[in-house]
Point group: C2
Chain length 202, copies 2
């Protein structure tokens, strides 16, 4: 796979591109700190994946803005959007910097990380494997929060990201899930996703 | 008041400084986008206030790291922290860039902002005025979420920030509160904070 793929231009409203950039950059920050504090290389990979996605969105947004601006008035109205998009790209770069610290194995001093172990919920990356009973299930029906104290904050499906997925969304094989919760609940969920556990309820 | 104040060095653990930087930068991103999307100059001011606070924390953290590192092993273990802090500063700068767009009146195209009006809850800045009945009240006792669908996400008290305040925290005169919720609930809360409404319950 080439490192730089050709980005296909498909028209998408400016507002949708900006909303997606905003949501993904917020997710990135969250994942980047967790990656650093828990020295989690899987999460760091997802941060870099998100950075690539935001780069693509920034490029599409630039193109869309150029096409949309037909006169000075349009251009003025769209300048703000372009600037917000630029700042989002900068945020995404910074989150990428944090992820690179983890990838390079620099890590955080254990004494520093310790306080976060206590005060913060964990975030983890979980992959839905072929034999998982979660495949085809609607998220809402799983009652993850009530059953195991786990919140599903995002899904990556190939290159597409679904932030704050709806209850009606069905889980698919090879989905990469980003979950938040207490360590025990996350472990339980991992067993389900990886097919090592075949029943959801107690 | 001079623009650059002398920063007093008070020893504080590295982990506390980093935790505060992390929490404040996440808050900043949230406020910055809201400021841009709803063209809210008050929120933009708070973002710039947060940027100053993060600058101060970054400076204190640098000093603390220098003092803490006594040998090569320490220095190596602390290098990761310094890098995360640097990235946080970059995130904070980017959020500041977004706030400046609002301050300069560049704004976001109304058609772009419209989608956010629908999908996003609002964030607002509310100041506790002298005659407010909220003064001295514990946050937990107010039941803001149940009563008016409002969440208190942060308090600024002078230059200090309290992110995700505890239920036991008492509101004080001149507190600047950052709240999130539906517009109707926020308006109700504003009336209470500004002393224009004297009863909390229906």
């Amino acid at each position: 796979m080439p490192e730089f793929e050709k980005i296909e231009y498909r028209p998408k409203p400016v507002r949708e591109l900006l909303l997606e950039m905003k949501n993904l950059s917020e997710l990135m920050i969250d994942l980047a700190y967790s990656a650093a504090l828990f020295n989690d290389k899987d999460l760091a990979e997802e941060v870099l994946e998100l950075e690539r996605r935001i780069d693509t969105l920034a490029y599409l947004l630039d193109m869309t803005i150029m096409i949309a601006a037909r006169d000075a008035e349009d251009a003025e109205a769209l300048a703000g959007v372009a600037k917000v998009a630029g700042a989002t790209d900068k945020i995404s770069d910074a989150a990428g910097d944090i992820a690179m610290i983890v990838k390079q194995g620099i890590g955080i001093h254990p004494i520093v990380a310790e306080i976060f172990e206590r005060v913060e919920e964990h975030i983890a990356r979980v992959r839905i494997e072929e034999k998982s009973i979660l495949i085809g299930k609607k998220i809402g029906r799983l009652n993850l929060a009530a059953r195991m104290g786990v919140n599903l904050i995002a899904i990556r499906r190939g290159k597409e990201w679904i932030v704050k997925p709806e209850d009606e969304e069905k889980l698919m094989r090879e989905d990469i899930l980003i979950v938040r919760g207490a360590p025990a609940g996350i472990n339980l969920f991992k067993e389900l996703a990886e097919g090592r556990r075949r029943r959801i309820g107690g």
